[in-house]
Symmetry: C2
Subunit: 183 residues, 2 copies
Amino acid sequence: MESQIIHRGHYLTFRVDTVERADGTRALREVCGHPGAVAVVALTDDGHVLLVRQFRSPAGREMLEIPAGTLSVDPLTGITEDPLAAAERELEEETGYRAGSWELLTSFWTAPGFATELMHLYLARDLSPVAEDRRGPEEDERLVLESLPWQEAVAAVERGDICDSKSIAALLWLARLKAAGAA
Amino acid sequence: MESQIIHRGHYLTFRVDTVERADGTRALREVCGHPGAVAVVALTDDGHVLLVRQFRSPAGREMLEIPAGTLSVDPLTGITEDPLAAAERELEEETGYRAGSWELLTSFWTAPGFATELMHLYLARDLSPVAEDRRGPEEDERLVLESLPWQEAVAAVERGDICDSKSIAALLWLARLKAAGAA
């Protein structure tokens, strides 16, 4: 497979891949290159899920989602951040909480038709607040922390109030774990 | 919000948005513009789900997913295809089936952190095969049709064998409908 870089942005890359058709001829595929990401189902001891509300310019609206973020790439070495370290960092930055227990639930492609983003989904438990003066949210994020009992978070998915694919997948996954007595 | 087009591809657009930080200063956001998409949970009378296996160049691997596709945009008028019409078209092109019953389950953003793609998820039932000579799959798609009993499709999600966010969200949504006796 050939791949041509059209534009290299700060963290996204726009490229065109040449793939082979069934009849042996070739077709072009536009692809958005992405370093990968993490998302976190953070479950409190009393069964609440931590959520963040923020304006999403690609969607053109405010959205309520589970905490998530992009893997950092070291500009000098090109090495991509370890997903668990990224999950710990994003949870702390976005919610002000740390977790004593981390479990990788699954990894999935968010949009494999056009984007290379692979997202790692974690279940975080045994949460404790980080001291106020040690919190370091990203400067350009405007986040509002909310929390819902997990059943209400699932109901918000079913009503369409939580409407991004990672949060839907994550909260329905949690509902299955709960139904199986495994969370 | 300002938005600058960096590159306009055949169906993806690469742009940079300027958003306002909490402190009033501005930050840049790279965004992948996408016309929107549809995905279909196609459920047979005997409880099987139709799935398609194909190579996904963004993921660099073969994947097993529910049928899905991008909304067409008329090059002359710029008008975007009706989502239900797109769902009917994609189901027929990718599986060779038509559905007598269509229900919009939900709509969600696949990756609202960087992509504008809004995906509409349908439940299709009362399936019937299209006559062989009337099938018109896209020429550049290499698809293999498979089907699984819905419980096995959900198990494939939980094992990570089905690992894209739309299919995970869709199949776990179906599992909840089944548990509630609503599908």
